[in-house]
Symmetry: C2
């Protein structure tokens, strides 16, 4: 309760800083995606799939947000993609100020910047970082009721990826029910069902991403 009076000005000032970050990314002509999910929903595997598919055609950077350590950065290094690690330490999300600290480390132009936020379905949604859009990942073992229980992220995300479709035979997850919940929170959202483990279901998402990359380039040229 008492934190709200403090949090509001913080969010306003975060929004301003996010605007500055966005200008920086726009000058570089970079499409920036803020990827948010629970811990272990498959953010890193999802990014690995994007890198594998697009790295020969587009210049890609991953900004890796973790409370502590660099387990995912080490993983992604194997994909031969550029990675900048941000450790948030006491904070449960990336905000625009932490993201700004990464900007001086960006030494060349990238077409695509994938930001892997801290694993948390709640707090990261509140903080813009200068992204073009948010992409939420929901994994099937988490359950089809999550869009109704954690509405803010599903309300704000342009794209919602349902991951771990390979586990569907072993978990109680009703895709139609999840999609109804998502559409209730966010009728305009685009929903994809994939397995980052097996690679299935990515064709349509890759088409979408290719189009977004093209649109971003066109806007700025």
């Amino acid at each position: 309760m008492r934190r709200i009076s403090v949090l509001k000005p913080v969010l306003v000032s975060n929004k301003e800083r996010a605007g500055e970050n966005r200008k920086f990314f726009d000058r570089m002509n970079s499409l920036v995606i803020n990827i948010i999910s629970s811990p272990g929903a498959g953010k890193t595997s999802f990014i690995e799939r994007i890198v594998k598919n697009f790295k020969d055609k587009y210049r890609i950077l991953v900004i890796e947000g973790d409370i502590k350590g660099q387990i995912d950065s080490d993983r992604l290094a194997k994909s031969k993609v550029d990675v900048i690690q941000i450790n948030t330490l006491t904070e449960c999300h990336l905000d625009a100020f932490m993201t700004a600290q990464a900007l001086p480390k960006i030494k060349k132009k990238y077409d695509l910047i994938l930001v892997e936020n801290v694993g948390n379905l709640v707090c990261p949604a509140e903080f813009e970082i200068g992204e073009d859009f948010k992409l939420a990942i929901l994994s099937t073992p988490e359950g089809d009721d999550k869009p109704l229980k954690y509405p803010l992220l599903f309300h704000l995300a342009k794209v919602i990826v349902i991951n771990k479709s390979d586990l569907l035979p072993y978990v109680n997850f009703d895709f139609a029910k999840a999609k109804t919940g998502i559409k209730r929170e966010n009728p305009k959202s685009i929903v994809y069902e994939v397995s980052a483990k097996t690679g299935s279901g990515f064709e349509n998402f890759f088409k979408f991403l290719e189009k977004e990359l093209g649109a971003k380039k066109k806007n700025k040229s």
Copy 2:
């Protein structure tokens, strides 16, 4: 960064309020467990197993923390257990003040109070609510690296439950590696491996809980 100067006094004042809550629970002779995990790790199913096993012998109350809605309360009502719902709205965790709001609704004595915190592996760990101990649930699809990536909860929890053992054949989860990570953060923690879905692995946990319930009664009589 700028939030730290605010957060510290909030945490101090939360700790004081948690002490008051604890006195209230102690007067009732209630064992209070603060159950924390990612969204969809199986908190509600885990609670259902406890209720099923102990409800004829002990008086049980569930305090249900959710940002919005009462999906889990409705589920638990089917187990014929008393439930108090707290909606945290803008907050990503339960704190001692929100928990205090539930106290006037507690109209009889309970032996066991199970608090299902908001699904979030990060923030709830920071806020004492007056519990006897924290119990963390980690589910196998989340991955065995989570104790190192989200260390605070695993550092503070007395009991760590690895849930969804039924999915082990289908996910990359190394129980030994997870346990090594947990023990590095918290050598004294007690670790159980269960499937709340099938019910397997609960025998040892139930023995532990029975002992804790007995000790609590003994302390206060």
